[in-house]
């Protein structure tokens, strides 16, 4: 698994470091910590952001205190080197070497959405994580629509962590006729990360629940998957026409995970614009699974 976490200079970025470290520790993920600056600065990145990134790296590694560290934790003469135009990478430690997992620290300059998506694409990332301001005004680096633009445009899963207390319930909207193993596992990891309750919302079809054996069989498999991991998942089944309103209602209180894979029925019901709207309007964090 490869996780990319995007950072700017704001406090919500600092706050997500510990959560990302726990997620990385649980999944043994390869990590990229990506700083994004809007303007090009020649041969060196903005010093404030560069210093923040070094600081975030230290915080990230410190979260493994007492646990086995899969990354290189050395801190000798760390500095950002230009890799190509508008891309710098922290060197001075072994990014691969004998260490089992990679930890890359990078800074990209340019339009932030493009920069994040370019890095995600280049790294073939499974998950993009970014923090943002709390509540309805979901800002990142001064831009009000950046998190929702990333969430709706990314090809991989996206976790937008709003500046709020950890969610106690994660409501997961799954298209139960087909859900990838990776999505189920991602939800498992997030539930573990927050020690939260899991509620799974599935879709009935026009025949209703009792009329669709396929839906029930798949849903039972999903429940067994989580029961085997000692997670008691709640279920609720809603009709497709009620889904949008239900998502809006739930997102006011709980963290929402929405599966939007290519084969997902949800992706037909939920347009990408609605994903952006969800990220924006949700009071809590949002996980878009792909």
């Amino acid at each position: 698994m490869r996780i990319i976490t995007a950072f700017d200079n704001h406090s919500y970025s600092a706050r997500i470091v510990s959560e990302v470290a726990k997620l990385a520790a649980n999944t043994w993920a390869d990590m990229t910590m990506l700083g994004v600056q809007s303007s090009a600065t020649g041969n060196t990145p903005e010093s404030a952001l560069a210093n923040k990134l070094k600081h975030y790296r230290n915080d990230f590694l410190a979260q493994f205190d007492g646990r086995e560290l899969p990354y290189d934790g050395s801190a000798d003469s760390l500095e950002f080197k230009k890799r190509k135009d508008n891309l710098w990478e922290l060197i001075g430690y072994s990014q691969e070497g004998d260490f089992r997992k990679k930890l890359l620290i990078k800074i990209r300059a340019g339009e932030p959405v493009k920069a994040i998506l370019a890095e995600a694409s280049e790294q073939e990332s499974d998950l993009i994580v970014l923090g943002c301001t709390k509540g309805l005004d979901c800002q990142w680096n001064g831009q009000t629509d950046l998190p929702q633009r990333v969430a709706k445009s990314a090809d991989c899963s996206t976790l937008v962590i709003k500046e709020k207390k950890s969610p106690d319930t994660i409501t997961c909207f799954l298209d139960q006729t087909y859900v990838s193993q990776a999505s189920l596992e991602m939800v498992n990891q997030v539930v573990t990360l927050y020690n939260a309750e899991l509620k799974i919302i599935g879709l009935t079809d026009s025949k209703g629940v009792g009329g669709n054996e396929k839906v029930e069989t798949r849903m039972a498999e999903i429940l067994r998957y989580y029961a085997d991991r000692k997670i008691n998942a709640w279920i609720k089944l809603v009709r497709p026409e009620e889904l949008e309103e239900y998502v809006a209602q739930v997102s006011r209180e709980n963290m929402v995970a929405l599966w939007m894979g290519k084969k997902s029925l949800l992706s037909k019901i939920f347009s990408r614009d609605l994903v952006g709207k969800l990220v924006n309007s949700s009071q809590s964090s949002v996980l878009i699974l792909r």
Partner: protein, 271 residues
């Protein structure tokens, strides 16, 4: 020791009910008999003749159903204290289960029902022949809730004496605590009050009954508001115990919306 009957089919609702029964059996003294009812195909049933022809045909149907339920139990891999092998019965589901409950005198009937946005299924259950005529309490399992607190839900006109008596008989143990809640309908946002007198004498009397059984409720509250709002507040409970609601009773809607399992207590004529 409570002896219960649990209805199983090869479906999601039964999967949830089975897991919940296993979870419950960790805390309370209960043994269960599984039952599966196979509805006969009317055309084949009438064409299967009489005597040994019909008996052979019925045996074939039963064997097939027995294998399906055993496969279901093997897949679920859940530890449940079963009394014996699952019983497979043929006929109208409500009638044969009702007959089985009456014949063997079970203390409780358990089945799963999916938590959906459409409450009609719950209303259909409540008005079914099985539910209205069953002589024992009925547990409808909608979800697995891992809390250790049970809500005893009273209301205007509810038979709280039978409710408390049956809840204690089945659930009293060291691992389960109780909240005593009086619900009253109000067309407004839900409010919780600790003023017991708002419920008249009911909460005072109910507390006395619990105390006599050595139980001190953790919270005694009056809950007012819409059924949807009240149901949301009840979702934290491992089980919501109520007297069997009438069709016009506001608690019926609360129970329909409630995502937690519910235990419906019947008027106890055996006391």
């Amino acid at each position: 020791m409570t002896i219960g009957l649990i209805a199983l089919d090869e479906n999601l609702a039964s999967s949830i009910a089975l897991r919940y029964a296993s979870f419950l059996a960790n805390d309370i003294s209960i043994q269960l008999q599984a039952v599966h009812v196979e509805k006969p195909d009317v055309n084949k049933y009438s064409a299967s003749g009489t005597g040994w022809v019909r008996r052979t045909w019925e045996r074939g149907v039963k064997d097939g159903a027995q294998q399906a339920i055993q496969r279901f139990l093997n897949t679920e891999k859940v530890a449940v204290p079963f009394i014996g092998f699952p019983k497979v019965l043929i006929g109208d589901r409500d009638s044969v289960i009702l007959k089985e409950i009456r014949k063997s005198g079970y203390d409780i009937f358990i089945e799963g029902s999916l938590n959906t946005s459409d409450n009609r299924e719950f209303f259909r259950l409540i008005s079914s022949r099985l539910y209205t005529r069953a002589p024992c309490p009925i547990m409808v399992v909608k979800n697995l809730v891992s809390s250790n607190t049970v809500a005893l839900l009273c209301g205007d006109g509810a038979n709280y004496k039978d409710l408390i008596h049956q809840a204690i008989t089945i659930l009293k143990c060291d691992h389960i605590s109780f909240d005593l809640i009086f619900y009253r309908y109000k067309e407004s946002e839900c409010e919780i009050s600790t003023e017991k007198k708002e419920a008249g004498n009911v909460l005072f009397e109910a507390e006395k009954l619990l105390e006599a059984a050595g139980i001190q409720p953790i919270n005694t509250q009056v809950l007012t508001g819409t059924p949807e709002g009240a149901a949301q507040l009840l979702e934290k409970y491992r089980l919501v115990v109520s007297s069997f609601p009438s069709k016009t009773c506001p608690r019926l809607k609360v129970l329909a919306h409630c995502p937690s399992p519910v235990l419906l207590c019947k008027h106890d004529t055996r006391k």
